[in-house]
């Protein structure tokens, strides 16, 4: 994939790794329509041995990211996440999803 410059429209997918202390990671790949920006689904990959088991999206008004009501339990291997999992939480486009913080937790 060609490198983009600042100001370019970012093309699908949006990939985010969250490594643990050993470099094992949860990697989130969000796919979206480049024209409409609508999220079409995502895959979450948890490396063998990764100590993180949850994907934490958003930050509650009170408490830690661990207390967010939008989190996935992530089993080892690849998990497919349907677009409806995002749209049901109000995240229809990739830009909407990016406006909340994302991390991984135990």
């Amino acid at each position: 994939m060609a490198a983009e410059a600042r100001g370019d429209v970012e093309l699908s997918p949006w990939v985010s790794p969250f490594p643990d202390y050993q470099g094992n990671k949860i990697t989130v790949t969000v796919n979206y329509n480049n024209a409409t920006r609508a999220i079409t689904g995502a895959t979450v990959v948890r490396d063998a041995g990764c100590v993180f088991s949850k994907l934490l999206i958003g930050l509650p008004e009170v408490g830690a990211p661990d207390d967010t009501d939008f989190k996935f339990n992530v089993p080892f291997g690849t998990t497919n996440v349907p677009a409806s999992a995002f749209t049901s939480r109000g995240f229809s486009t990739i830009e909407q999803l990016r406006t909340v913080q994302m991390t991984a937790g135990r």
Binding site: P17, I26, Q101
Partner: protein, 459 residues
């Protein structure tokens, strides 16, 4: 675990593009006394000269700012983007950490690395910042503390691509934060350097289209922990990792690992010291052993003394496990290279006096090299199934002839055969059946008890 490795409690990086210009880590519980190295990243508007950031946490710890790389801090010669390095000392209580930008754009990122064994008073040994366009990140550092380990954090404001690690380094986190995006990177030296000196922290790619700022620094190990042990102290790991000692311990100290990894000593052992691994990996000594010192591996691997090291008096390179005890330097007095396991005890230098290269297992005990010599009382012994070999040098002449073996057994057999023949040919004096003395009668010898005679009786 080498110094600077992330503790298992280290939280995942976090990123966002929120109106509050902040991100918060998930909850984590670092060990008390661990140093928290917070790498904070914030996007900035083009030409922003007023960006700042602040680290806070849920416990109200005191955070120290060590370095900022931004136009606001370093002038217009730097690229856009803001990054800062902070540290605090953990209390052992569950916590979260937050970075908040001021006069920044919304995108933010944070990576907090929990490091055990760092100097809590001066956790950053040295630091430098820099900037470049259309080039890699590259920053030279001169560390002042033996074992200080280099880290580089960087931003690319132009979104060229994720950065990759430079030579002998590993990328810890390489990602884009928020929207519009900004690339962020944290990389670390693969190994703990020793001694202190010059290191270069860098990336390998991208090399074009990028607009970098960076902070390079070295984490400083705690005095009295990994370095500069006072008498009676030890760098010990009883778990699954290594104990590493980077400096010279005082008397009675040891670098020991009781579990599955190596005990490594980079400095000198003075007297009665040991670099010991009781488990499955090597005990390595790259310096000198003084009196009664040992590089010992009880597990399945080698005990080695290398690189010109010397065992001076009573020293030993010993492996009781399945592999070799290896000594590539000199044994000067009462020294031994011993392997009790299934492999070899190898000595590639001289044995000068009352020394031994011994293997009790199934393989060879060898002494090699043209200059090799067994002098007074020296021995090379293999009790197992294979050879004891001396190549080169001299063996002291034996003081008495060696006898025994098959020839000796044959001689005994021949003696018995000759004695039997002589006895058969000789005239008997007693009855062979009851032992009664024989008497002579009619030209023959006769037993008066049971009637045995030597031949026909002439009447």
């Amino acid at each position: 675990m080498a110094f600077g490795d992330a503790d298992a409690s280290t939280p995942a990086p976090v990123k966002a593009s929120v109106a509050g210009k902040s991100v918060t880590t998930a909850s984590f519980t670092p060990p008390a006394g661990a140093v928290l190295y917070a790498h904070a990243f914030h996007d900035t508007a083009g030409g922003n000269l007023t960006s700042t950031s602040q680290i806070t946490d849920s416990l109200g710890l005191t955070w120290t700012l060590h370095e900022v790389a931004s136009k606001a801090d370093d002038g217009t010669g730097y690229n856009d983007g803001h990054q800062a390095l902070w540290t605090a000392t953990a209390t052992g209580v569950a916590m979260t950490v937050t970075t908040t930008g001021t006069n920044t754009n919304n995108p933010a990122g944070l990576y907090v690395r929990v490091v055990v064994g760092a100097d809590t008073t001066t956790p950053v040994d040295t630091h430098q910042d820099g900037t470049s366009d259309n080039a890699i990140v590259s920053q030279g550092l001169t560390t002042v503390t033996d074992g200080a380990r280099g880290v580089v954090m960087a931003t690319d404001w132009n979104l060229a691509a994720n950065m990759t690690a430079g030579a002998n380094q590993t990328a810890v986190w390489a990602d884009g934060i928020g929207a519009p995006d900004m690339r962020v990177y944290v990389g670390i030296q693969n190994a703990v350097p020793s001694p202190a000196g010059s290191v270069t922290m860098s990336t390998a790619t991208p090399t074009t289209g990028n607009q970098n700022n960076w902070i390079a620094y070295a984490m400083r190990p705690a005095a009295g922990g990994a370095t500069n042990l006072s008498p009676g102290n030890a760098a010990v790991s009883a778990a699954g990792n290594a104990a590493t000692l980077s400096a010279s311990p005082a008397a009675g100290n040891a670098a020991a690992a009781v579990a599955a990894n190596a005990a490594t000593l980079r400095g000198s052992l003075a007297a009665t010291h040991g670099a010991v691994s009781a488990a499955a990996n090597p005990a390595a000594l790259t310096s000198s052993l003084g009196a009664s010192s040992g590089a010992v591996a009880v597990g399945a691997f080698d005990a080695s003394v290398t690189s010109g090291s010397t065992l001076t008096t009573g020293g030993a390179a010993v492996s009781i496990g399945a592999s070799s005890g290896t000594l590539t330097s000199s044994l000067t007095a009462s020294g031994a290279a011993v392997g009790v396991g299934a492999s070899s005890a190898a000595l590639t230098s001289s044995i000068s006096s009352t020394f031994a290269a011994v293997s009790v297992g199934a393989f060879d005990a060898t002494v090699t090299g043209g200059a090799t010599a067994l002098n007074v009382g020296g021995a090379i012994i293999s009790v197992g199934a294979f050879d004891a070999t001396l190549t080169g040098g001299t063996v002291p002449a034996p003081e008495t002839p060696v006898t025994g073996g098959w020839q000796g057994l044959l001689d005994i057999l021949n003696d018995i055969r000759d004695t039997h023949a002589e006895q058969v040919a000789a005239t008997p004096t007693a009855c062979p059946r009851c032992g009664e003395p024989l008497y002579s009668t009619h030209g023959a010898l006769r037993c008066r008890f049971d009637g045995w005679t030597t031949g026909p009786v002439t009447l």
